[in-house]
């Protein structure tokens, strides 16, 4: 095994927790059943690592195989990186019929034409998602496998999720994606987060949607707010309507685990008792960041309990309606980039 393969494997083993390592190795299927069984996962990691290195050397495995292992791990555990979402725009006539083989071919051809030294690995995951691993090089050095980028594209949708790509390389990557998917352009969807599943579900609206209905029906999974029964009787109608509005905006049931939302405000200060500030021409610049283990649930709960006034302001409802969590708000309305 060459040095690069060794160091790649070492880094990988260090990062993968033990419980996950066993399943990942068996999925990889590069070790014989006997070899897999010989691995003792109760030993300390450095012992395990030496053993594994020996087995891989025995089987003559190289960088190509180790990157395969890494890809399997990342596909199964996508919620550890910072993902950015992009949206493809203006599909051409044949965009929706692009299939895996066609996409794979075209993407490779176009990307290599733009950047000669790049190592590409494409894999199709079970849920119609195409996973691409990219290791970037340049005319002076080989592709750097220690800092790979990952791209996920769901065929027949205009969405692409990317992690760990510099802005310079992003323009080239975008071009290749646009050409391979038969769209005209691509834009930043202003949605980012650590949990790929969360941002994907949010963007593709894969959570329980609640629609306005004339008859207010109590929803199945609403949180029980325990309170004085007499107060509750009085406030029943209001709290039900708050609940309905909260769920219409944010969804019912379990919500995608979005963890942050950032608003850059550049609006003027209004309704200020001090005339000197009200007459001010320049905007009041501030940045507001919401953070929680699940901000959609926090905001929904806030709307239900009245901490957030209902109807929910468009600034907050845009998170779910538009599927984004980065906003720049000016007096002329939210600016879309």
């Amino acid at each position: 095994m060459d040095d690069l393969a060794r160091s790649l494997l070492q880094r990988l083993i260090r990062r993968i927790p033990r419980q996950v390592l066993k399943t990942t190795l068996s999925k990889w299927a590069r070790l014989s059943l006997q070899q897999e069984e010989s691995l003792d996962f109760t030993q300390p990691k450095f012992v395990l690592m030496e053993h594994l290195l020996a087995l891989c050397a025995e089987n003559g495995l190289g960088v190509k195989h180790i990157t395969e292992l890494e890809m399997i791990y990342v596909i199964d555990n996508p919620n550890q990186r910072k993902w950015n979402a992009y949206q493809l725009l203006e599909p051409r006539d044949d965009a929706l019929s692009v299939e895996m083989i066609h996409f794979k071919e075209q993407f490779k051809v176009h990307l290599v034409a733009l950047i000669r030294h790049v190592s590409i690995k494409i894999k199709k995951h079970t849920d119609e998602a195409v996973w691409i691993r990219l290791a970037w090089g340049d005319s002076l050095s080989r592709p750097n496998h220690l800092k790979p980028s990952y791209v996920v594209h769901h065929l027949q949708t205009p969405y692409v999720f990317v992690t760990n790509v510099t802005s310079k390389r992003m323009t080239l990557l975008n071009q290749a994606l646009v050409l391979a998917t038969r769209y005209s352009s691509i834009k930043d969807a202003n949605l980012s987060g650590r949990k790929l599943t969360a941002i994907r579900d949010l963007l593709m609206k894969q959570y329980q949607q609640v629609f306005p209905s004339k008859h207010l029906q109590p929803l199945g999974e609403k949180n029980q707010i325990i309170s004085n029964p007499q107060v509750e009787y009085e406030q029943n109608e209001q709290s039900e309507s708050r609940l309905q509005m909260a769920c219409e905006v944010f969804g019912g049931g379990a919500l995608p685990e979005l963890q942050t939302a950032i608003y850059k405000l550049e609006t003027k200060l209004k309704d200020n008792p001090n005339k000197s500030m009200t007459g001010r021409e320049q905007p009041f610049r501030c940045v507001v960041k919401f953070a929680s283990t699940n901000i959609l649930e926090s905001l929904r709960h806030g709307a239900m309990t009245g901490i957030a006034s209902t109807p929910v302001t468009p600034l907050l409802s845009s998170i779910t309606q538009k599927g984004r969590n980065h906003f720049v708000i000016t007096d002329k309305g939210p600016s879309s980039q």
């Binding site: 001090n274 500030m277 926090s298």
Partner: protein, 373 residues
Amino acid sequence: MSLSTCRCSEALWMRMDPPPTSQPFSTSAVRTPLLAQRRSRSSRQSYRSYVGTASHLGYTPGFTKRRLTTSRLAPRGRTADEVSPAQLALLAREWQLSYVTPLYRFRHGQLKTYARQLAAFVQSEKQQQGGGPVEAGAGMESTLKVSFTLVAGMAQTEADADTVFIQPHKALWSGWLACVGGDPDYMRSLPEDFVCLPLFCRGGAAWLSPLVEAWFCRTFDCCFGPLEINAVSLQWLAALWTNCRAQAGVQPLKLVWSLPVEPPLEVTYAVHPQDAWELWRSVRRPLRERVDEEEDEDEDGSVGIEEVEGFIKGLQSHFYRHFRLELSAGQLTQVSTALGSAKHGGRLKISNGSYMVTTLTLLTECALLKMPV
């Protein structure tokens, strides 16, 4: 043992003297058991009842509000910039705050003795505990040396005791005791042998803190307790730190609220320093008949609580206009600007010498209020 009584303006105070503290250092780890009992026998009024009850619950109206500090002095422009080398050690580190009850027979002239005693105490405690944690490269087997230094220039009134800085050599820990701008009436009411240094700031390796505190408790018959910085104090700091325009730089005024939803939502509100300054100035202006329009002159004089309230309300209403979320339903947990940062749990960082005294005056008051004695 001798019985001594002394009369102070508020009540009769009776106390049993402990044996003098200069006795040979004993290796026993058992603390003097009479501490707690002595405290309860005192009929002396605490600072809290002296000022008014429920003082740290916020904007309590009426009687208590009159007694609480409703205005604080903010230093004038440039002259507040000079910081002595000793004071530099207090800057740019995050400290955990505690309050300390008055120290019995603490002498600023005996710092070297205290340093030796503390070093010996820590050494023996570590040996008793079986060598303590393994400190890479710290060489704990050799004698631990501690230094107590005076940090001059912090005392604001005659009653203030000088700040003392404690630093063990080669150990990643330091701490300091301070009293800045303490209420002179309260200081006068203390019996003669007591030195009041109510603010204790510590930072570094966690294992040393309980040992230092234990040594202080047994040597000076005091006790320590956690000091939280409540929302009102955090708002004061936000306003006071914004008041210092010269040092604002490019760091925003950052306020963090925690909203009581499920799961808890943290809202970080960061305001451009120039805009924060202008909002602050606009809040101050109508409340004071200012003749001069010069911007530099605004950095002086005293700051009133109504101005602080107005400033925070202005920020909250701008937020409400956009998000229709009531920030006041939550709790303010953190404030930070270019001058420093303060967290509700009692963590403080002072980044700049300019407003150090004002900040510490506020925190000394918090410590005095929190003390049970």
